[in-house]
Amino acid sequence: MSVDSLTSLRLKLAAQDIDNVSSVHRFLSPAMVLQLDARDWGKAAEITKSEHWRWAGIWAEDRGAELVVNACLEHQGSYLILRTLLTPERAILPSQAPHYWAADRPERHIRDLFGIHFEGHPDPRRWIRHQAWDENVFPLRKHFAAAGTPPGETPPDRDYPFLKAEGASVYEIPVGPVHAGIIEPGHFRFQAVGETVLHLEERLGYVHKGIEKLAEGRDPAGLARLAGRVSGDTTVGHTWAACMAMERAAGIEIPLRAAYLRGLLAERERVINHLWDLGALCNDVGFAFGHYQFGRLREQWLRENQLHFGHRLLMDRIVPGGVAVDLGPDAAGTMGRSIAALRGELDELLTILDSNSSLEDRFLGAGVLSTELAAALGALGFVGRSSGQTFDVRRDAPYAPYDRLTFNVPTESQGDVASRFWVRYKELRVGLRLLEALLEGLPEGMVAVPWQIPPEGAEGFAAVEGWRGEILCYVRFGAGNAIARYWPRDPSIVNWPALEKLVLGNIVPDFPVCNKSVNGSYSGHDL
């Protein structure tokens, strides 16, 4: 972070009488930490908002005598962490949600799991808590046992107070949690008139597996495995983020070859998921040709993953200290050929898709997320980049190996399903070029270094660009190499609210393609 922007922010804070700000810590490098009084928490958000900082996430931690709350903000590639301390007896904090839309659900998540009350929060309803635990016990407090209390059968969450719309010819459509396809569970509540969606409300949390609690007490290798299952389609992204955070906490530098291999894994994950989404988007508008063609290409790449890396979805290939797999001498040649082959296939498919008017008819103008709304939400990844948000961690807050590579970040500004389709398509092409550059520049050397046990209390923060967008991760170690706190933030958490907005005014039958064009992770959201 530039010292200037931080100095300017501190002056702004001081001008608003927020002067009890403790010195800037560097232990969460590359992020900076500003510690504030709890009473200034809301006002600080108001000021950072006016200074155009993007609100990226919030996490809390129970350290016995005190509760620590951290909010992460980003501005032009610099990360800032606002930190404040609360006592467990007085766990009250001014809400930042009135200033930042993105803070709404994450603050409710913390309230449900830590029992921290956010004063002035616009939505008093629970969020991640359904019925698996009692209202007044908080699973992320340290004294709460991971096993919980003998639960009996968990009742369904049937009394969640959805917003109601009433009036002549207004009707309600409840969907889920078990959906009609092969898809994760969640609930959508539509209010519609005729075929037009008046209002959509998401109800998530069905796949809450207690990931943050399960992480407590794990060793680094165990945490890497867990991180690889935060969201199965982003196994590389989340494992990378968790390992990077742990390595920073332990002061470990991974070999350059390992960084390049991580880049290869991440770009292959991006290619595979974008291929899958392009096919699925075609499928959702009844264009079976596109579905099968992209699905065919994806399967070929999954098989190549198996061949070169030993796993189709690349799980558990990244480990603390490096990577668990090295490439053979022939791999660069065969991968290079399949990159060239995929590029040729994409050229051919582009020509066919581009001249297909029925595809155009369903994609263009559907599910528009305006540039202004995307900015207000802090939309990430291809969702943000299809609505004029240019942020990409790989370019704007670069880490190895991306700090050695130049590449462009495709953006669009129409914000419709078509934009999200074409941004993915272009990202595929960029991904292929990156893969070539990584293979070409792959340095010799080791693929991992031995793990060193970090001192108790060591903290690490990481931001990586997963295929869906910015993934954040915070890790703090306790005694004896055991994790005390793990906080993963999938970009889906930020992007899910965008779906509620972009579907408005569209017809109900277009919901599947609108939903797929955002493709939020349920598991990565629910944790």
Binding site: H130, Q131, A132, W133, P139, F144, A145, A146, A147, G148, T149, P151, E153, T154, P155, P156, P177, V178, A180, G181, I182, E184, P185, G205, Y206, V207, H208, K209, G210, I211, K213, L214, R225, L226, R229, V230, G232, D233, T235, W276, F289, Y292, Q293, G295, R296, R298, E299, Q306, R312, L313, M315, E348, L349, T351, I352, S355, N356, Y522, S523, D526
Partner: protein, 179 residues
Amino acid sequence: MLRLYSKIFKTGVLTEKVPKPPSPGIGVAEREEAIEQVGRALKGIVDKRFRGSLAIRQVDAGSCNGCELEIHALNNVYYDVERFGVHFVASPRHADVLLVTGPVSRHMEAALKRTYEATPDPKWVIAVGDCGACGGEFGVSYASCGAVSNVIPVDLAIPGCPPSPLALLQGLLSLCGRQ
């Protein structure tokens, strides 16, 4: 449109013969036979017992979505599971088999039970993946019931994280081949 047809002809038919299972792991005698034989037997069973169509309802009861990706792959052009008369349906009321993934999250417990009850008898349940088989990386916790069999009766578990489409296909064939 001509380009589209030309691409289809150039792509050709990619659907593969199912190879023999590479190693034991499914747990039935049929694995020793060529899967193609079991496939034909399965088709016979499906034709006889299910009037030509075996309907599967997939239920994600808490997975990380990894298993779903591989279940989806069963429908791609390489595996094309429909050629055995096996297809995925949108409602448990149309299903013969429930394919359940995940450590069952406590928030999905009631929904999974209701889905099971909504499936007409006779029905089979396959627990997919390490999580579905034994709780996997998540196990039993305040938020997770663990294995699918902790919540509803399970006829077959297909381990793997996630199981490959081939492992899924072999599991399906072995279950339906049971007498």
